[in-house]
């Protein structure tokens, strides 16, 4: 019944000046999601508010909008809906993800193609609601794919690409689409909302009554999933299959991004990373999220001063694009990795910098890595500061000297200090 109604609405291609959260809501609408479960949390709230507005105004005919009492229930609700064979969507942030955590493992273990928008915020305490990706990166081992968006348009585009990737029968995994709280979620930019017919043609068809191939709810074909599996059972084999699907997803991400470029004309590199002026660069940075957008400008300005710098925008944290990072890194002598997130007690203190370091282990011609942590808890990272970060890397390249103020080997850039 839902499905026939879903055909009723039409969206013409138009450019709207909207907030990042609204871009996420428009993407969910364009993907014709069938079940949305919602619980408010800053800075995500306006995503589900906008969706409730769409549903209430009849712009998403047949879509079930379910308001529940907590994030744990939100995830349980979309898991149930997805098992029943529907395309599902929700959004959350910071503490909300932590509350969902148990159900995240259930979603990945059940191999459900759920897509969740994350307006990232710093974990409490101290209480913080501003951009910081620790909320997403700390869900690293749940079996969810995770990508970062650096622009409003990318939020819209990446959510559409996500459904294509997640619903692929070789992948069948859930995914987070993360973007910085407030810095993207609550600022306005022009976003192209694509023509509905083009989106329908790009995305796989909505699941039919039979549901997903591996799990379904059908009284005539009863089945049970999630019950006890003994140590002698196939537990390890099913875990291995999740890892295998995640690695295989890399090629699906690339093909989804390439097809997106062909159909809609917006290029996201190979989907996993985007290189910017890396080919002749001496030093480079790996950066992700909203900071990457401004870093492009910093790279341009530092290049005008005569230095060969480049950057790699990391789009995916899981699956981690190991090969792409290795190939891009080899082009430079010094590589800074800028984290807007923390991984306490790890080798570098930052989740991505540690990952990049381990990817480059035993690689011939690998550059020296300088882990940088900046912009935690939404602290502004100005264009000048990003240029300074690049110049620190240039200085290391020229003199071989590391900055004196490294803390446990990591540059915590932009700390408050009294001079």
């Amino acid at each position: 019944m839902i499905k026939s109604k879903q055909k009723d609405f039409i969206q013409k291609k138009e450019t709207k000046i909207i907030k990042g959260n609204e871009a996420a809501a428009f993407a969910a609408k364009s993907a014709r999601v069938q079940v949305i479960s919602a619980y408010p949390i800053t800075p995500q709230t306006t995503v589900v508010e906008k969706l409730s507005e769409f549903v209430d105004n009849g712009l998403m005919p047949g879509t079930q909008y379910i308001l529940v009492e907590s994030e744990h229930s939100v995830m349980a609700c979309v898991i149930g809906a997805s098992i029943a064979g529907t395309r599902t969507f929700t959004a959350t942030s910071g503490q909300g993800i932590f509350y969902m955590h148990e159900m995240l493992h259930w979603a990945a273990g059940t191999r459900l193609p759920i897509v969740v928008a994350i307006a990232s915020r710093g974990p409490a305490p101290p209480w913080n609601i501003w951009a910081d990706f620790t909320d997403v990166t700390s869900q690293r081992d749940t079996g969810w794919m995770m990508s970062f968006c650096s622009a409003h348009q990318e939020i819209f585009d990446d959510i559409l690409m996500s459904y294509k990737i997640c619903e692929d029968s070789d992948v069948l995994l859930p995914k987070f689409v993360a973007y910085g709280g407030f810095v993207l979620s609550h600022t306005s930019k022009p976003v192209i909302i694509e023509d509905q017919d083009a989106v329908d043609a790009y995305l796989p068809p909505l699941p039919d009554e039979k549901g997903w191939p591996h799990i379904f709810i059908d009284p005539d074909r009863p089945m049970m999933h999630g019950n006890l599996i003994m140590p002698s059972g196939f537990y390890a084999e099913f875990r291995l299959k999740i890892h295998d699907a995640m690695i295989k997803a890399k090629s699906k991400i690339t093909s989804a991004a390439r097809e997106f470029d062909r159909v809609f004309g917006r290029n996201y590199g190979n989907g996993l990373i985007q290189e910017y002026k890396m080919d002749d660069a001496d030093v480079g940075v790996v950066i992700y999220g909203d900071l990457a957008l401004q870093m492009e400008e910093a790279v341009n300005q530092v290049r005008e001063e005569g230095y060969k710098v480049g950057m790699v925008k990391l789009r995916y944290f899981r699956p981690f694009p190991t090969e792409d990072i290795v190939n891009a890194s080899k082009k430079v002598k010094i590589l800074g990795v800028i984290d807007r997130a923390t991984a306490f007690g790890s080798q570098t203190g930052g989740p991505i910098s540690g990952e990049v370091k381990s990817a480059l282990h035993n690689i011939k011609g690998a550059p020296e890595i300088l882990p940088i942590i900046a912009g935690l808890g939404g602290r502004e990272v100005s264009l000048e500061q990003q240029k300074e970060q690049l110049k620190i890397l240039i200085k290391i390249n020229e003199s071989g000297e590391l900055p004196k103020d490294l803390i446990h080997g990591t540059l915590w850039h932009g700390k408050l200090e009294v001079k």
Binding site: R111, H214, P222, M223, M224, H225, N227, G233, F238, K241
Partner: protein
């Protein structure tokens, strides 16, 4: 023991359990493990029982025990009375508690064996 015959029957029915796939290697597995319905998929759970519910004479055939049984081991006979499948009854006692005529008695298994 009459139970032995039932054991054999159960083991036979297990062989008839639908097999979704034969395990060759991890690659050939379906994405998730699923279970299909079958009697006693994890064994003879009646072994767990400490107290055995016994339906005494005087049952008014109301069917409340049959409705409340969480393991669905109480079944209706042709004459309208009820019988309990002790192979899978765990002896929780809900039937005895709910019986409006108090005709279900919980008897300790050890005592029954000694009789």
């Amino acid at each position: 023991m009459a139970d032995t015959e039932k054991w054999k029957a159960i083991n036979k029915s297990r062989d008839k359990r639908p097999k979704l796939q034969e395990y060759k290697n991890w690659k050939e597995l379906s994405p998730i493990p699923i279970s299909l319905p079958i009697d006693g998929s994890i064994g003879i759970t009646g072994d767990w029982r400490t107290f055995r519910p016994i339906i005494n004479e005087g049952c008014n055939k109301c069917g409340i025990c049959w409705m409340y049984c969480p393991e669905a081991v109480i079944s209706k006979k042709e004459d309208g009375s009820f019988e309990i499948n002790y192979l899978y009854c765990k002896g929780c006692g809900i039937c005895a508690k709910e019986c409006p005529t108090k005709n279900i008695e919980m008897k300790r298994e050890d005592d029954l064996k000694n009789d």
